[in-house]
């Protein structure tokens, strides 16, 4: 059988390299009974349509950024909640609390998660060095979702909506002064061309997820199903390692290109955590019981 697998990301992204290896593993384990073709860079569907395309069996499986679903249920976006889980260790713990909940949610749409791999932890990019939250006051801060808008407001910054491709220009023209994103995005967009400071505040560790259509998965033979699950397990383990390597490598790239790399001062850390705590309260007010149970499990 031949399966098509769309992903929004390009071939050089470590996520795409990871799913390519996943496809190879599946093909090898099933002696070519199941071949997965990766369609990278959004060549089959735009990012926003991939989940629904899997749901309606246009493709059997696909990859997307998990917290894009957070408007459907807050449980999907818990990994993008600032200062809840900030290390890979915590992120793994959060994922094991989150997985059963979103497995149930996705099952309502006929979907089944295969594996989830994080992006490197999100850091703060600014023109000047930031040592305390108060210094964010009055800065124009890039916000692309409700959580970041709230974050900006709490830090006293002005939220500005800038689409990803416009970032370099937005910085060089002063449309934005600060943003939070991963070192991958920073290094790939050559952030040193337009911003000089990177602070590894490790705000959150967001994830991509690979989901399969349950009915199409059930249509596979038992051995093939097992081969897919085994390859998925391996891909998850490998992906988390790749992500950690990526974080180190891309931070080094930024340092090599003359960016000032720093870790948060205690003052900055406590200020950010206070904002995180306030945001978690707001989040709790709108979250479903299932979503709240993730945090409860995580905090145990």
């Amino acid at each position: 059988e031949d399966w098509d697998m769309p992903t929004p990301y390009g071939d050089s992204t470590f996520h795409t390299q990871n799913i390519s290896q996943f496809a190879k593993d599946v093909s090898a384990a099933t002696n070519g009974d199941l071949n997965i073709t990766i369609h990278s860079a959004g060549s089959l569907f735009p990012h926003g349509e991939i989940k629904n395309a899997v749901r309606s069996r246009q493709v059997p499986l696909g990859e997307f950024f998990l917290s894009t679903l957070s408007n459907e249920d807050a449980a999907y976006g818990v990994d993008s909640q600032p200062f809840v889980a900030t290390s890979y260790e915590d992120a793994a713990k959060l994922w094991s609390a989150q997985k059963p909940v979103i497995t149930e949610l996705l099952a309502e749409q006929g979907l089944m998660p295969l594996f989830s791999v994080p992006w490197p932890a999100q850091g703060l990019y600014t023109k000047n060095e930031i040592t305390a939250v108060e210094q964010l006051n009055g800065l124009r801060f890039r916000a692309y979702n409700a959580a970041l808008e709230e974050f900006a407001a709490l830090a006293g910054a002005a939220p500005v909506q800038v689409e990803a491709p416009d970032i370099p220009q937005a910085f060089s023209t002063g449309q934005v002064d600060a943003m939070i994103t991963s070192p991958s995005t920073g290094a790939n967009s050559k952030a040193w061309d337009f911003v000089s400071n990177y602070n590894a505040i490790d705000a959150w560790v967001p994830k991509n997820i690979v989901v399969v259509n349950k009915r199409m998965f059930d249509g596979l033979s038992a051995e093939t199903q097992q081969a897919v699950l085994d390859a998925a397990q391996a891909a998850e383990t490998r992906g988390w390692e790749m992500s950690a390597e990526e974080a180190t490598a891309k931070t080094a790239v930024m340092a090599d290109n003359g960016m000032t790399i720093s870790t948060p001062t205690d003052a900055l850390k406590s200020g950010l955590q206070a904002i995180g705590a306030t945001m978690l309260e707001t989040w709790n007010a709108k979250a479903s019981d299932a979503a709240k149970s993730i945090i409860a499990t995580y905090n145990q």
Partner: protein
């Protein structure tokens, strides 16, 4: 009937035009807020939440609602080089075939767009931006646009069979 159909194409086209103007107004307000924010700091809110999403959905709605109006005013382009050199009977024949092909395709697209909207409403799909917009709303407008286009194509087809001459001439050369 004729009046009703022409009115339908005209009104959906006019709504499409209003949507383009609305996109323009929305984005202009955002630029204004950007300017005020740069000059006076944060007195006013700095962003219109999800304005990019709203603009995109209004664009989709406008594009699809204008389909029938554009069709009837000869705005959809085609390569009519060979057609012009043929006898009138042959022209009518080819026009008939291309209308049948178009009706089939648009009918097919309308059917599956209806399924997409139905699924989207059933699962309560929402946009991923700052304001959660139920996707069923803009998708329904897209569906309505396709339905009006389908009506316009069938209308044109019936007219063609009755008059036995091509109905939709292309826009004049300038």
């Amino acid at each position: 009937m004729r009046k009703f159909l022409d009115g339908l194409y005209h009104i959906s086209g006019a709504i499409a035009g209003v949507l383009i103007l609305a996109i323009c107004v929305l984005i202009s307000c955002q630029i204004l807020l950007n300017g005020l924010g740069r000059m006076f700091g944060q007195i006013l809110p700095t962003t219109i939440p999800s304005y990019a999403d709203f603009s995109g959905y209004m664009l989709a709605a406008s594009s699809f609602l204008a389909l029938a109006h554009t069709l009837r005013s000869g705005g959809h382009i085609r390569v009519n080089l060979i057609m012009q050199t043929m006898s009138k009977n042959l022209q009518v024949l080819f026009e008939t075939i291309s209308l049948i092909i178009s009706i089939s395709l648009v009918g097919y697209a309308t059917w599956f767009m209806a399924k997409l909207v139905q699924e989207s409403i059933h699962y309560g799909d929402k946009s991923s931006g700052i304001i959660p917009i139920p996707l069923g709303i803009p998708q329904s407008v897209v569906l309505i646009g396709l339905i009006i286009l389908l009506i316009a194509l069938i209308d044109t087809f019936v007219e063609l069979l009755r008059k036995r001459e091509p109905i939709l001439t292309s826009a004049d050369e300038v």
